[in-house]
Structure formats: structure tokens, C-alpha cells
């Protein structure tokens, strides 16, 4: 290795585009063993025994060219599949509770890199040494620690099996370059994660290997989404030392980061999310901006894969070049990096009681859900609430005033928040009994201190984060009712309900009137925008009522939707904002699709008129630009737009650069794309307003510029 190894990355990325990912190879052995071995008295002992057995019998997978190793992609044989189906049917449900949230978190990589598995094992052993096993209480705690020790040992055993595999491949390898790589892989896998990492390469391998092992969680059979935290912090000292010692070049480091990124794609299936954040401030308040910050973002353009999803944490003094790098990446059509407002998030975390040292160390737990790194039992997006449906539910009667309607709506919403909280809490109680993730507990504070598994209340933070979908639709709907029923007296609630129930059958002009002739959220119109403030304020106040209870289970609200705007939309009837039945709800917390008519400045003003700080569970605001907007001069102006959004307290911003495919969709469905701005020779206009011939022209040019 001497340069950036493009050839290698190109070769490795291909199978990562649509990879086969399965941990069944591990799970089948876990359950076989667990079912067979009932000589061990305790659930914990059986877990530990089956865990070691499962990993000891799983096949290591090292593909040609890989530098960072650890993945599961073995397909079960037909016989195994039959056996696994039986285990899934009869054994798994007896043991594993599949409900409730999990993963979505970042573990304590500093601990891993600084002490290695051996160091953590030492901590566990010291704890055990103090127990008096003639006391029942101590027996209980010791069982937890004993299993932790067993699981830590399992990781070391498994890593050494990768070393064996690498050595075996090296023996038969005719390519001298690859043979040397394999020998190095073997050496590194014998050392990490067992011992503290000493080089950049070792650190990257150690981080990946632990994360990979965590991803196979036998009690939670669905895919786990672990996040890689802040690589530009925990990897920095290794990079700096290696650079000084002359054992690595920035190109080699980039190659390794790319290899790490490719492995994320081989660990997490499509349609979910996994990634890391860069930038922000360290615990001394100093901005983090180094070579790894940029390299962490460049991974996106080097690998061109769905993962990692990268977030840049922006502070008031984040260097412009870091922000500009995001544009250079975005203009190529990538959906990342997303921009997070470090000032707002840190403030929000402080308000929820985090000390400064922890408030600067957070992760977007897949999309935009913020959780503290290394100390959270994450319970994000639990559950999703459809704000629009809750309104439709109460439109079955006449109201004397807007206030009366709001009161009924809020009562309904309040009941739903309460019911949902009870459900989630109940699920947690169930997990206290049946959940068990000892390896994870070793790397989440304060499980080892407390002697409690993460599923049994060991984590320092146990927030529940419900999220509310359809913010723009609810603001628009409420304002439409205010204007059409109370101000203009165009119709009654009964008439409105009849139109909605029939999906505006025979009332298309009325639907268009609601849609086009009533002001909408996202256009800097205070009369509408105030509803977003009222709704978000209500949600925040309600959620605060639940703090703090059962093992610090604060209720922390969110306003993002993942793909639920589409799913909810498909099951929600027509709404008073002129949205036809079964259309998607608004995504994120910006204006509803196609309703931003006054451009992005108005949209930014609208979406920052209310306080984002309490919504640590996540807020997403999207801005769409066509590729034609990304010339050098416009880039400066887009920077100013983003800076203004951040300085007004915006939480997160996702800039989408649309390509020809989007333009095609906009032609077919202009109503949803009224906000799409394109540039045509010296001037910008809304794409859907252009006559067909001009649209054609823009599409041709867009394709040309890709």
C-alpha cells in the first residue's frame, strides 16, 4: 500500500451494492446449543455457553482484496434451513422477545481501543472477585458478569479464527501483494480487538470487528443498526501517530476508511441506516476539524454505496471548507452528508440533564435521532404517531371556535401519547425479563458498574423517543379550517367531513381551493406557521410530564418520519389541507411536498419559527435543489442559506440534489413537486411552472451534467 487504492475499492464495492447479509449461520448454532444444553441451571449460563458455541462454529468470511474483515454471508444448506425453520418456530419464541427497540446506538469505542477486550475482561474479573457467592444477590450479579466474560472471550476466539482463515488463505495465495496483506490481516486479528490498538489499521479493524460481533444478536433476530460514532475523534490519535512515525499515508488511511465503510454495507441490509458523524466540538469546546473529518465525508464519493449515512455537526465556527466539502459531495447527487446543528443539539442535551462532557458526544442513531454515545439504551421512534389521523378522528362534530377544536384535538393526542408511553414502558418491563445482551452491556456505561444488563436497566440513559409524523399537514389542515370554516364561512364541519370522507368526490374545485388558495406552512406566513409552534409546543409540554421515571425513562419527542410519512399516508383519508386520500404525508418538519411556493428562504424561516431544541429525538428538514443550482457562485449562496438556517436554531438540514429521474417524476406528479427549483440560462424558476418543451430542455441538460 502506498497510494489510495482505487482499484481495490472499486472491486470491493461491487459485491457491497446488493449484498447477501445473514447471521443465521450464527443463530442456528446458538439455538441448537441452547436447546440441547439444559444441564446448565441458569438462563445466563446457557446464553454464554451457546454464544461461544455459535461463534466458534460460524464460518469466517474473508473475500479477496478485503483489508478490514468480519462479515456474515453464509447461506444455510437446505438441511440447515429446515432445522432453522423448526428452531424459529418452536425454540426461538420461547427464549427471545422480538418486540421493542434495540441497537441504533454507538458503543464505547474509546474503551475498546484503549483497553482492548482483555482490559474490559480485567474490569469484569475485578468485579467478580469482590462477590460473596454465599449471598443470593451476589450470585445474581455474578451470573451477569460471568456471561459478560464469556461473551468477551467469544469475540477474541472469533477474531483468532479470522486470523487462522487469513493465514490459511495466505498459504495458498499466489499473488505476492495479496499474500502480504493476508499475513498482515492475520497478525492484526490476533492482536485486536483482544488488546489495545496501537496503529490506525488496528484501530479500524478493532472497531469494525466488535461492531460486527454485536450485529449478531441471538435474542433479536432482525438486523441490528449500530452506529460508528465519531471516527474523527477516536481514530485521530492513531492517525496522527502513524503519520508522524511514517507508517501510514493519508491515502492509505482513506483506503482503510473506505474498506470500513464497505463493511457497513455488508453488515446492515438496505432500507435501514448506519453511519457516523464528524465535526462538532470536543469536551473542551474546541471545534473538531481534522483530516479524518474530511476523509470521513469523502468516503461517500469514494464508495458510492447506501451506507454510511454521514452527518456533519456544524458549530458557529466550523471551518467553511468542511461545509463546502458537503456541497461538493451533494452536487454529485449523493444524499449525504446531512448537516446537524451542534449548537442546538448540545443545548438540547444539556437541558435534558447531560453534563457538558457528554452533551458534545452524541450520534444520529440512524436518521436524525440524537442519543448520547456509549451510555444509551436507545429506544428511538417509539412509536410513530400520525398527527393527521388524530385530527380526522375528531372532525365528526361541529365546533363553535378554533379553540374548541384545538382542545378536543389535544385531548385526543394526549390520550394517544399516554397510551403509547404505557405500551413502550410495558415492553421494556417485558425485556427486563427476557432481554439479555451481555457483550453490548460491556461497552455501554454504566452496565458494568451497576452489574446490570442493558436490557435490565444498566444503561445510564433510557430515553423513550416517540415521533410525530405529518407536522406540515396538520398545520396546513388546521389553518384551512380556521380560514374556510371560521373566517370565510365557506362550509360547515359536516360539509367538510362529507368531502373528506368521499375523498372530494365531485368536489375537485373545493379540494383545489383548499390546496391552492389557502396559505400553507413553509411560505413565511405567520398565520399558518403559528400552528407548527402550537403543535410542537403541545407535544413538548406533554412529553415533559413523563420525566423522569422508571430507570431514567424520559420521554423525548421527535418530528421525523423515516418512511412512515408514506406508510401513514397510504392509510389516511383525505385531509382539510387539500391532500387527497392515501397520498403521502409531509416528510420531516419542513413544508409538505410541493407546497413551498416562495422559495427556500421562506421555507427556512417557517421551519425555524418554533423551538427545535427539545426535539432531540430528531427533526429533519429537507431542501430540494436541482443539480443546475450547484455552480461555484450559487454554492456560496447555498452556504449562506444553510448558515442562516443554523443560526436561527434549525436542528438538521438535508439538501437533496435532484437528478433527471426526479424531474421525470415531477412532470408526472406536478402537485408534489411545486417547490423544485431549476436554473435556466441566467435565471431560476420552479420546474413545474415551465412549459413542457422547457422541461424537456432542462431534463436534457440535467442528464448531461451528471
Amino acid at each position: 500500500m502506498c497510494d489510495y487504492d482505487r482499484e481495490k475499492i472499486e472491486k470491493l464495492r461491487l459485491p457491497a451494492i446488493d449484498p447477501y447479509i445473514s447471521y443465521e449461520d450464527i443463530y442456528i448454532n446458538f439455538y441448537r446449543r441452547f436447546a440441547e444444553n439444559n444441564s446448565l441451571m441458569h438462563f445466563e449460563k446457557r446464553y454464554g455457553d451457546a454464544y461461544l458455541y455459535a461463534f466458534s462454529n460460524a464460518a469466517p468470511s474473508i473475500d479477496d482484496g478485503e483489508l478490514i474483515v468480519g462479515k456474515s454471508n453464509r447461506k444455510l444448506t437446505p438441511e440447515e434451513q429446515t432445522e432453522w425453520d423448526l428452531l424459529k418456530k418452536y425454540t426461538v419464541p420461547m427464549i427471545a422477545l422480538q418486540r421493542g427497540q434495540d441497537s441504533h446506538m454507538t458503543v464505547d469505542y474509546e474503551l475498546l481501543l484503549g483497553k482492548g477486550i482483555s482490559g474490559v475482561t480485567e474490569i469484569v474479573r475485578n468485579k467478580r472477585a469482590a462477590f460473596d457467592l454465599s449471598k443470593a444477590e451476589d450470585i445474581k450479579k455474578d451470573l451477569f458478569y460471568e456471561t459478560c466474560e464469556q461473551c468477551l472471550k467469544t469475540v477474541v476466539v472469533f477474531s483468532n479464527r479470522y486470523a487462522d482463515e487469513a493465514e490459511k488463505q495466505a498459504e495458498n495465495c499466489k499473488d505476492e501483494k495479496r499474500r502480504k496483506e493476508l499475513i498482515k490481516i492475520a497478525r492484526i486479528c490476533r492482536k485486536v480487538p483482544e488488546y489495545p490498538a496501537e496503529t490506525f489499521y488496528e484501530a479500524v479493524q478493532s472497531v469494525h470487528f466488535l461492531t460486527y460481533c454485536l450485529s449478531a444478536n441471538p435474542l433479536r433476530l432482525h438486523i441490528q443498526q449500530f452506529q460508528l460514532g465519531r471516527p474523527d475523534r477516536y481514530l485521530w490519535r492513531f492517525f496522527e501517530n502513524d503519520l508522524k512515525a511514517g507508517v501510514i499515508t493519508p491515502y492509505e488511511a482513506q483506503t482503510l476508511l473506505d474498506c470500513l465503510a464497505i463493511q457497513i454495507n455488508r453488515r446492515v441490509v438496505h432500507g435501514l441506516s448506519s453511519g457516523y458523524m464528524v465535526g462538532g466540538r470536543d469536551e473542551n469546546g474546541k471545534v473538531v476539524s481534522n483530516e479524518l473529518t474530511k476523509m470521513g465525508m469523502r468516503v461517500i464519493e469514494q464508495c458510492r454505496l447506501v451506507y454510511p449515512s454521514v452527518g456533519l455537526c456544524c458549530c458557529t465556527d466550523t471551518p467553511k471548507e468542511d461545509i463546502e466539502l458537503t456541497y461538493d459531495i451533494l452536487k454529485q447527487g449523493f444524499s449525504h452528508p446531512a448537516i446537524f446543528n451542534d449548537e442546538v443539539i448540545t443545548k438540547g442535551l444539556r437541558e435534558y440533564g447531560l453534563p457538558a462532557k457528554e452533551a458534545c458526544s452524541y450520534i444520529h442513531s440512524t436518521c436524525v435521532e440524537i442519543t448520547p454515545i456509549a451510555s444509551s439504551n436507545v429506544w428511538v421512534a417509539s412509536p410513530y404517531t400520525n398527527l393527521v389521523q388524530k385530527l380526522l378522528d375528531v372532525l365528526d362534530r361541529e365546533y363553535d371556535s378554533m379553540e374548541a377544536l384545538m382542545e378536543t384535538y389535544f385531548d385526543h393526542l394526549r390520550e394517544s401519547i399516554n397510551a403509547n408511553f404505557e405500551t413502550e414502558l410495558s415492553c421494556r418491563v417485558a425485556r427486563e425479563k427476557s432481554g439479555f445482551i451481555p457483550l453490548l452491556s460491556c461497552f455501554i456505561n454504566d452496565c458494568l458498574d451497576r452489574g446490570l444488563d442493558i436490557d435490565r436497566g444498566g444503561a445510564r440513559y433510557n430515553w423513550i423517543m416517540p415521533t410525530f409524523v405529518g407536522m406540515a399537514n396538520i398545520a396546513d389542515s388546521l389553518y384551512a379550517i380556521q380560514k374556510m370554516i371560521f373566517e370565510n364561512k365557506e362550509y360547515t364541519f359536516a360539509k367538510l367531513k362529507q368531502m373528506l370522507d368521499s375523498n372530494f368526490e365531485g368536489c375537485e374545485p373545493q379540494r383545489l381551493q383548499l390546496l391552492n388558495c389557502v396559505e400553507k406552512y413553509g411560505n413565511d406566513c405567520d398565520a399558518v406557521d403559528r400552528y407548527s409552534g402550537i403543535i410542537s409546543g403541545f407535544i413538548n409540554t406533554e412529553c415533559r410530564k413523563y420525566t423522569p421515571c422508571y430507570s431514567n425513562a424520559r420521554l423525548i419527542p421527535s418530528l421525523f418520519c423515516w418512511i412512515m410519512h408514506d406508510r401513514f399516508g397510504r392509510e389516511t383519508g383525505a385531509s382539510p389541507d387539500g391532500r387527497p386520500a392515501f397520498f403521502p404525508l409531509s416528510d420531516g418538519s419542513g413544508p409538505a411536498q410541493g407546497r413551498e411556493c416562495k422559495g427556500p428562504t421562506a421555507s427556512v424561516l417557517s421551519s425555524t419559527k418554533w423551538d427545535h431544541t427539545p426535539f432531540i429525538g430528531g427533526i429533519a428538514v429537507n431542501l430540494k435543489f436541482n443539480k443546475t443550482m450547484f455552480d461555484d457562485e450559487s454554492k456560496q449562496k447555498l452556504t449562506a442559506l444553510v448558515e442562516t438556517y443554523l443560526s436561527r436554531g434549525g436542528f438538521e438540514l438535508q439538501i437533496n440534489v435532484t437528478d433527471k429521474k426526479t424531474l421525470q417524476k415531477a412532470r408526472e406528479n406536478p402537485e408534489l413537486y411545486q417547490d423544485l427549483v431549476v436554473r435556466i440560462g441566467g435565471y431560476s424558476d420552479y420546474f413545474v411552472k415551465l412549459p413542457p418543451t422547457m422541461q424537456e430542455e432542462v431534463m436534457l441538460r440535467t442528464e448531461h451534467e451528471i
Binding site: 374545485p509 373545493q510 391552492n516 424561516l605 449562506a640 442559506l641 442562516t644 441566467g682 431560476s684
Partner: protein, 301 residues
């Protein structure tokens, strides 16, 4: 308090001066350029724009029009503009926004208030307010009050003008303007008259007066194939720029045919109907030439 006629206030304008801007489009223009990109801005009187593809044939316009201009024949919406008094009643009942009124009366105070809404963005980007059109100085008192009040609240002000106006008016306004985007369309006065309806003598005089006053100027030159895209005009641009002291930039604006469909929407026939976009590449050589001979930055926008 002055009231004037405009037809659009566009926020997040990126190409009408420095930074993020809000552009106010005045309605009415003393010139009649054949290639006009914004034909809806020529007349000061409001007009009814009709977007056929948006019409849902609800017939609401038919029932409200006092002149019976709208008819639905065999599910086709026919708009007879001859009797249209441009009262706009139909546009108020057109919820599909197929019929839209272009042009409305507004006070200078409201214009300034709307422009000031994006102040935060101007501050980060060095932007501000741009008056464009149409021709802003065709409504001199209205324009004057806007720029005056904008300056009072500290906005950066640009005016995009064709320069065909009273010298007194433009100079009065100039003291509240930071930057002029001054059109220079055609060098030859006879050709100028032929394609714009007026000669360019008074325009050049006004330009010179602004320069004498020390006002910063960006020359904006529409490049229209067969009319102004020729060596003679490029030489004219060079000579003009060299004769002035305060030209900070020269913009070459390649022809685009957007005006044609806009003409059709307001029921007019385009006078210049080339549907070819002029590519930026064609202008590269001219850009080099102008820059090398004037030392002034040239942009193709």
C-alpha cells in the same frame, strides 16, 4: 405613500446582483424588445394568464365573467380575450390556478416589508433587494420611495434597468442605489430602434450620467442570435466599457426562448420565435475577448 404595479416578488433570487436577493418585478416597460423574456411585464395593465394544462373544466369562470369571455365547448375551455376587461373575477374563482392575474397594486411600504423578511439571508450572503421588471424607473416615484425606504432599513439595493427614462428620475433614484444592472442591448442606434422600439441615445446618456456620479455598474448584454450576437456589438460593448469608469462586471446573457410560451399564456404572439437555446460555449470566445480588452470580469449567466 406611493402605490405601484408589480407582478411578482421573487425571494431567493440568485442571479440579479450579489448574494441572496429578493427581486421585485415591476409591470410596464417603455421598450418593446422582440426577444423579451418577460412579455407579461410589458404592459402596466394587469393581464390574465391562462395555463391550459391546469384547467379542470369546472366552469366557475364561465359563471362569474361579466363579459362572457369564457366558454366550455365540448369540454374545451375557450378564452375570448377580445371582450376581456381584465377585471380578474375569473382568476379569483379559478382554484386550479389555470387562470392567474398577472400584475397587482401594492404600496412601497409593503414591498420594503416583504424584502426585509429575508434580511438574515442578505446579511450572511451580501445580498439585498433588486428592482427589476418591466422597467422600475417607468414608475419613478414608486421606485424612489422603495429604494429610499430600503436604504432607511439598511438593505443593499440594486436596480435592473433598460436605462430608457428621464435623466432626472434615474439620478434622483441613483442616490439610494448601490449597484445598477444596466442593460446594453444593441450598439447601432438604428438597429436598436428596429428591435426595441426606441433609439439608444438617451439610454447611453443616462448610463454616462450614472458613471459620472460614480455609481457602480454591471452591464447586462442579452445575446440574441441574428440581432446582437455579432462582432460589431461586441466591439461596441468593449468601447463602451472602456469609456466608463465604474463598470465592475459585464454579463453576457445567452438567449433562451422562455418568453414564447409566456406570450402564448397571455394571448399574445411572440415577435421573435426562435426556440433554440443559445449555448454558453458560443459565448466563451467573446468573453475572453472582452475581458482581455477591458480588464473587466465577464460572466455568462
Amino acid at each position: 405613500m406611493m402605490v405601484g404595479t408589480i407582478y411578482n416578488i421573487q425571494r431567493f433570487s440568485l442571479h440579479d446582483g450579489p448574494g441572496i436577493r429578493t427581486t421585485v418585478f415591476f409591470k410596464g416597460c417603455p421598450l418593446d424588445c422582440v426577444w423579451c423574456h418577460n412579455p407579461e411585464s410589458k404592459e402596466q395593465k394587469p393581464e390574465i394568464s391562462f395555463y391550459t394544462e391546469k384547467c379542470i373544466k369546472c366552469g366557475y369562470c364561465v359563471s362569474v365573467c361579466p363579459q362572457n369571455c369564457h366558454t366550455l365547448i365540448e369540454n374545451q375551455h375557450v378564452l375570448n380575450r377580445i371582450n376581456c376587461a381584465r377585471c380578474g373575477l375569473c382568476t379569483q374563482r379559478c382554484f386550479a390556478k389555470a387562470l392567474v392575474m398577472i400584475g397587482y397594486r401594492i404600496t412601497a411600504d409593503k414591498v420594503v416589508a416583504q424584502a426585509a423578511a429575508d434580511r438574515a439571508f442578505y446579511e450572511k450572503s451580501g445580498g439585498g433587494l433588486t428592482l427589476s421588471g418591466g422597467e422600475p424607473i417607468a414608475q419613478p416615484e414608486f421606485a424612489l420611495e422603495i429604494v429610499q425606504k430600503s436604504k432607511e432599513v439598511g438593505l443593499h439595493v440594486c436596480i435592473e434597468t433598460c436605462g430608457f427614462c428621464g435623466t432626472g428620475d434615474i439620478l434622483k433614484i441613483a442616490s439610494f442605489v448601490d449597484l445598477f444592472l444596466f442593460d446594453y442591448k444593441i450598439t447601432d442606434p438604428v438597429v436598436h430602434q428596429k428591435y426595441t422600439g426606441v433609439t439608444n441615445e438617451s439610454i447611453l446618456h443616462n448610463l454616462k450620467s450614472l458613471d459620472d456620479l460614480g455609481k457602480k455598474i454591471i452591464l447586462r448584454c442579452p445575446m440574441i442570435p441574428g440581432i446582437s450576437l455579432n462582432d460589431g456589438h461586441i466591439e461596441g460593448i468593449i468601447a463602451l466599457a472602456r469609456s466608463l469608469n465604474y463598470v465592475i462586471e459585464i454579463d453576457l446573457e445567452p438567449y433562451h426562448p422562455l418568453g414564447i410560451s409566456k406570450c402564448e399564456q397571455i394571448g399574445k404572439t411572440p415577435a421573435f420565435d426562435s426556440i433554440e437555446f443559445l449555448s454558453k460555449e458560443v459565448l466563451m470566445e467573446y468573453r475572453e475577448e472582452i475581458t482581455s480588452k477591458t480588464g473587466i470580469a465577464v460572466k455568462i449567466i
